[in-house]
Amino acid sequence: MIQVEDIRIVEFRGIRDLKISFGCDSYSIWGPNGSGKSGVVDALDFALTGDVSRLTGAGSGGVTLAKHGPHVSRRDDPGSAFVAVTVRDTSTGDVATMTRCVKTPGAYTLDPDLPSLRASLSHVEQHPELVLSRREIIKFIVAESAKRATEIQSLLKLERLGEIRSTFRSAKSKTAAALKASGTAEKSAQQALERHFDLPALAVSDVLAVANAKRLVLGLEPLTDIDDPTDFTIGLAEPASRASLDKASAGRDVAAVLVVAEAGSLESLEELQAHVGTLEEDPQLLESLKTRNLVESGLPLVVDERCPLCDKAWNDLGELTAHLEAKRDRSADAARLQTDINRSAAGVARELRSVEKLVTPLIRVARQLDLAETVSEFEEWSQRLVTRAGALSTLDQIRETCPALVTDPLCLPDASASLLDGLTAAIDAVPDPSATDAARTFLTIAQERYASLRATRSQQAKAQAADDAAAAIYDSYCGALDEGLAELYATVQDRLSEFYRFINSDDEGDFKASLDPVAQRLDLLVDFHGEGLFPPVAYHSEGHQDGMGVCLYLALMEQLLGDEFRFAVLDDVVMSVDVNHRRQFCALLTTYFPDVQFIITTHDEVWARQMQQSGLVSKPHQSRFLSWSVETGPVVMEGSDFWDRIDEDLDGDDVSSAAARLRRNVEARLAEIAEQLGGMVPYRSSGSWDLGEYMNAVKGRYSKLLGRAASAAN
């Protein structure tokens, strides 16, 4: 990790040329609103990450770093805008200056170019959350649960853990689908062997009885068992030729197809048809499905009344969120329907492939009988079945295929009945072979179908092993993730509670928070004076919510970075917290985070003094931003720099800038003097006075005081 020694900001945001020495210590920057404090925060953000979160977040449409990063008078010259930060590596003590220019925000120079320091800076670059504004803090507290989960998971860099879970879930789904497909193939192969043996099931004794009867005809030794691999043809001098036909077996193959063709239906089709019908009848469901991913990614981006998806302005943030949530809920119904459609479509596809497995033996029989037209018809049918099963993999394909499935579920050939009848007749017409030829053919085909069954069983075993492994991987991952996140959130909730109690020991000494991950949400409930647990926005004041936000942030950073949490920029984060609790907040930072360099901006002079009094920052480590103008940028309470810069303006013949700078500085100093002397300026609700008014107030009061002093002396 790094800490910041000093920063120089040139022509960046509202700053013309400013140098601040932080000294790797906690530092406060205070001044009124609009005095340029946030320009320093933006500059640190830019230097360390190459980006300015305020220019890229939601609600910043049309604003870019290249166009709006440079000072407004140099907006067409991004090369003139740069930030140089001298940093120290907290591990090695190495010091170097990194310089980043708006023209090339993705790169920076480092002098001296130390690899270890570059590694530390790369680490910091991955942590834009080190620069934090009130807007970011409060979103942890006021966000609805799903959005809070997204925000916190993003801060803790947990998105990739979710992506890995999706990867393992996808692998599990794929292996499960492969297992079902191989199961279908195995069942088809088994049924083919059962038909050949003319057995309702493959009981070993029944199979042996049939096979040994054939072997006896051929004078072969009987088989005693069915081992793996059994060879039904063992002892045969040569197997039957491929032209040999087992009339009975072929007849049963044709009969099996006839049964399916006459039924003409698929078991899963009715369910598929119903699901697709539901989808087609409700255009909103279909639309929800199409926009589901968009809406889900848009919801966490809602931070103001402007829709992050279409940029439409809404009257109320709640209405916009409710609108998107309703869309998401509708799409959740649609997503459930899509799952049902995919499941029943997969069932239909498996049935189609089973029919195709029935047709394949008929092609061989027809070819053996030289029935060219029948071969062609069955080959085309087989191809149609394969194509149709393959066309049931995506929702669009399923919707497109469904009408054809309903009209002709099995995509039967024209006149399929006569084709099958013709094939049966052709089989019957084949002269009966001799008993030995018939036995040889039977055993040869039995061996082929047994080999096919063994291959599908082997494939099934592999698919089962892959599915078991994928399931174990997914379950182990989910278990580790759930356990890890539960432990993480328990620690965060305990630390959040401890920090908050420390700040609010006077009125909420028994405070506790509950951070509960539920599905995709992260519920945050907090104790309210012992009355129970409620959402933070239910009863707590805005100031207390701010305090909770900072406590949650600190608890999260502890978990994210551990001992590497050594630097953070807090941009006016406790503006709503009252004076007493801010004092305790200073104590919290010095007690729990003594090694962290905090750079804190505030518009509140009282808190700036509290930071000094509490020891959070030392006197030299504080800048007061007095005022700001376009020409000069912020006027900072640093005398020598002020005159140096006027000299630089005059050297560059820029008299108007020198004059404006002089005027703003004199005004600021006269304001200080007027305050200290008790000089009176005319009341103005804007709280802004010019040089002449300050001068009159100071001169008038000073004359009076001198007069009184003279009187007293006389």
Partner: protein, 58 residues
């Protein structure tokens, strides 16, 4: 790799090593992928599972 992510992934490997459904080669491959997170993609995971579980059966 973030500290929390690393802890959860190591916890995952510990749990997985206790499963008798995952062959040693699958375990070895996943350990490599977890330590080089960019390799943890569906294509590589599927190839690893199918290849190593098939090999283990052979």
């Amino acid at each position: 790799m973030a500290k929390i992510e690393d802890e959860i992934l190591q916890g995952f490997l510990r749990r997985l090593s206790e499963s008798d459904k995952v062959p040693a080669e699958t375990m070895k491959g996943l350990t490599g992928m977890v330590n080089e997170p960019d390799r943890l993609r569906i294509g590589t995971v599927m190839a690893l599972i199918e290849h190593t579980t098939g090999e283990a059966l052979a």
